[in-house]
């Protein structure tokens, strides 16, 4: 009986200890199982991206891999022609901002360069856990990680105006643009919701989208608007049209302030 008297407290202490250390034991078991497991996955075939995927890639932001000896689908000449065509389409629509009717008139712009690059969507393993709601609009599409070949066509106009077009190598279509003018010239430049509505209508026509696919405009800060639409896969694409101020320093440390109008994330 004496041994029984000590047996019960010992048994109780054992059970309490087991209860206390159960989470650690479970974790050790999980770690051991994970450490001894190697999982094989089939390499997914290349995802055939379309224009909307590339719009989405441009909208969500990307990293750039420069190409030096590229054998892209479009040649440099074809890319220049595609850029001119895009300008024509925008001018003929006509797209005009800040009361500038001839903003996209090809005759007012001189093409400086057309450079291909690989755009790689921004991804981070932990970004999905740390992102804030406002960042979600621009979050990378982790379900469909993508990369594509784009062209960056740079134009310059009179009085320091600059225009960058981002073209899709597959279709030759304009995916994004960035229009820059010295800040002093646009002190009175106004940007309104009508501009965003006009841009949405242009996108509908240019990208061959249905009006019903577009949702209501959403205001942004810095001043601008989101032009969200839902593609045929049911995924939302957040095009944007916004303005911003930026400074550029030249080699002689002179600082130039620019006013920027950007579509679909270009130049931001």
């Amino acid at each position: 009986m004496k041994s029984l008297r000590f047996l019960l407290p010992l048994l109780a202490a054992l059970l309490v200890s087991v209860g206390f250390f159960l989470p650690w034991m479970g974790a050790a078991w999980q770690d051991r199982a994970l450490g001894h497991t190697t999982v094989q996955y089939e390499t997914a075939p290349l995802h055939l991206a379309d224009l909307i995927d590339h719009l989405k890639l441009a909208a969500n932001g990307y990293s750039v891999v420069a190409l030096t000896q590229a054998s892209t689908r479009l040649s440099a000449q074809q890319a220049e022609e595609a850029a001119q065509t895009a300008l024509n389409v925008m001018a003929e629509y006509p797209l005009c901002f800040f009361s500038l009717d001839q903003l996209f008139n090809p005759s007012l712009w001189t093409l400086h360069s057309a450079t291909p690059f690989v755009a790689v969507s921004n991804l981070s393993v932990t970004s999905s856990q740390e992102s804030t709601p406002s960042q979600d609009y621009f979050a990378a599409d982790t379900a469909n990680p993508s990369a594509a070949v784009f062209w960056n066509c740079s134009f310059s106009g009179s009085t320091g105006h600059q225009l960058d077009l981002i073209l899709d190598d597959e279709t030759g279509k304009m995916l994004a643009f960035s229009y820059r003018i010295p800040a002093t010239n646009t002190a009175e430049a106004a940007f309104s919701m009508e501009d965003a509505v006009q841009m949405r209508q242009f996108c509908q026509q240019y990208y061959n989208l249905d009006a019903a696919q577009f949702s209501a405009l959403l205001p942004l800060y810095p001043p601008g608007y989101l032009l969200p639409f839902t593609d045929q896969k049911g995924e939302q694409v957040n095009l944007s049209l916004r303005t911003s101020q930026t400074s550029v320093s030249n080699s002689s440390q002179e600082k130039w302030d620019f006013f920027v109008l950007s579509f679909n994330g270009a130049g931001v």
Binding site: F20, L22, P23, V39, L123
Partner: protein, 465 residues
């Protein structure tokens, strides 16, 4: 070990195991979910990296594997670097990014052109997911190993475990305290019962548990208290019996000793032959009278013994007839002593033992006669009752003080010892009367007033035919 401590230990064990199992399941589930999210994100990042390299490879002219390195470096420079370490190897490794690339597992056996592999490893106190796949650059196979830091989910799990530890400690203390308190509250009646049993065993027969709960323990305690009360009553009765027997033996010894001393003294005188004839006659008379008194004493004792031990057979009899017969014989003798005997009885039958009834009436009349002395009246009445009859003998004698009434039925008890001895009483008459009453399921009661007389009432409840 006390029962309440056992209960507490059981509760603590149960709660500990359940809480531990619950925490384990919750933490494991949370960790597994987070791990699966990290794995999915890592696979997406890895697929994007491979997709990028494949895309660049299709449009760019790569002359050497080092060109791949430049692509990766460009991505790293722009902050699009989700990996913690990366290695690109052919026959011999030629690119290694990140200090932990030494920790890479060799997954070459698990990868081929159509499959990539995922595993996990620890390095420098951190945990990583490793993804390995095969690329083909300019016809040359390359193994791309990428590691993603997933230490954050391990840190989260560690924080959850620490939280579990703290909550467990608090829960342990609270559970132990509450369990002990509840067990103490519930087993308190058992403590009282135990203490009462100990007190009873130590001789305190008046001790009771006093537990008043309405549960099973309350019922047990009430039964226990009732049992203790019965034991106390039995013990008191036994004690009274023992005391009575002690008194009986003492009185009996005394009753024997006195006449025996006288008889021996006178017998010694006769044996010496020194007495005159007249003195010899007186001595012989005294010896004879004391011998007769001893004989009466023995007869009374015998009668008392028989009343206690003889098998009793109650028969239907009429008390009026028995009383009439007795008084008819006794009246003349009493009248000669100046005592008037009055009678009053109801006709009817009841179950009784006729000889014992006669003995009862004779003893009561004899006591009344002795109490009256010279002049007086003895009234005898008998009423029939539902279960038998009630006999009342009333005298106009000298009466008795109230304090002696409870001792009247004790053997050898006399109110006035010298007078009783002179009248030849042995102090056994009323003891016999009480025995007779008890044998008839009845009782005997006394009422007396000093100087006025005594009334003795005997109820006999042996039943009626």
């Amino acid at each position: 070990m006390k029962f309440r401590l056992k209960t507490t230990l059981c509760m603590v064990c149960l709660v500990s195991l359940l809480f531990g199992a619950g925490s384990c399941a919750l933490i494991s589930f949370s960790f597994q979910n987070a791990l699966e999210r990290e794995q999915a994100a890592a696979r997406s990042a890895y697929a994007l990296l491979v997709r990028t390299l494949q895309l660049v490879e299709t449009v760019e002219v790569w002359s050497q594997p080092q060109d791949v390195v430049q692509v990766l470096q460009q991505l790293s420079a722009q902050g699009n670097k989700s990996w913690s370490a990366l290695s690109l190897e052919t026959e011999q490794e030629f690119l290694s990014q990140g200090s932990i690339s030494d920790g890479f597992l060799d997954l070459r056996e698990q990868v081929d052109e159509t499959h990539y592999a995922q595993s996990a490893f620890s390095y420098g106190g951190k945990q990583y997911l490793q993804l390995a796949g095969q690329l083909e650059i300019q016809g040359e196979p390359l193994i791309l190993n990428v590691a993603y830091d997933i230490s954050s989910i391990y840190q989260t799990r560690q924080q959850q475990q620490q939280a579990h530890g703290k909550i467990f400690a608090i829960l342990f203390v609270v559970c132990a305290g509450l369990s002990y308190s509840i067990a103490w509250f519930l087993t308190r009646p058992l403590d009282k019962l135990s203490q009462t049993a100990q007190a009873l065993a130590a001789g305190d027969l008046s001790r009771r548990s006093g537990v008043q709960t309405q549960d099973e323990l309350g019922a047990l305690a009430r039964e226990f208290d009732a049992m203790a009360a019965r034991q106390e009553a039995n013990f008191a009765a036994l004690k009274a019996t023992m005391e009575g027997q002690d008194r009986f033996i003492g009185s009996f010894t005394h009753e024997l000793k006195t006449p025996m001393t006288s008889i021996l003294g006178y017998a010694d005188l006769l044996r010496r032959g020194t007495l005159s004839p007249e003195e010899q006659a007186n001595a012989a008379d005294y010896i004879f009278s004391e011998g007769k008194r001893l004989e009466r004493l023995s007869l009374k004792l015998l009668e008392l013994y028989l009343a206690e031990h003889q098998a009793l057979s109650l028969v239907p009899a009429a008390p009026a007839d028995l009383l009439q017969d007795l008084t008819a014989h006794l009246s003349p003798g009493l009248a000669r002593q100046g005592i008037v005997l009055t009678t009053q009885w109801e006709p009817g039958l009841c179950l009784l033992e006729p000889d014992l009834f006669r003995s009862l009436v004779l003893n009561l009349i004899d006591n009344s006669r002795k109490a009256i002395g010279a002049q007086g009246t003895i009234s005898i009445s008998c009423q029939m009752t539902e279960r038998g009859c009630r006999l009342t003998v009333q005298d106009t004698g000298r009466g008795m003080p109230p304090e002696v009434l409870s001792h009247l039925t004790e053997a050898f008890y006399r109110v006035d010892k010298s007078r009783a001895r002179a009248q030849g009483g042995a102090g056994l008459g009323l003891a016999l009367c009480e025995k007779i009453a008890v044998l008839h399921q009845g009782r005997i009661t006394f009422e007396s007033t000093l100087g006025q007389g005594t009334t003795v009432t005997v109820s006999l409840e042996g039943g009626r035919p």
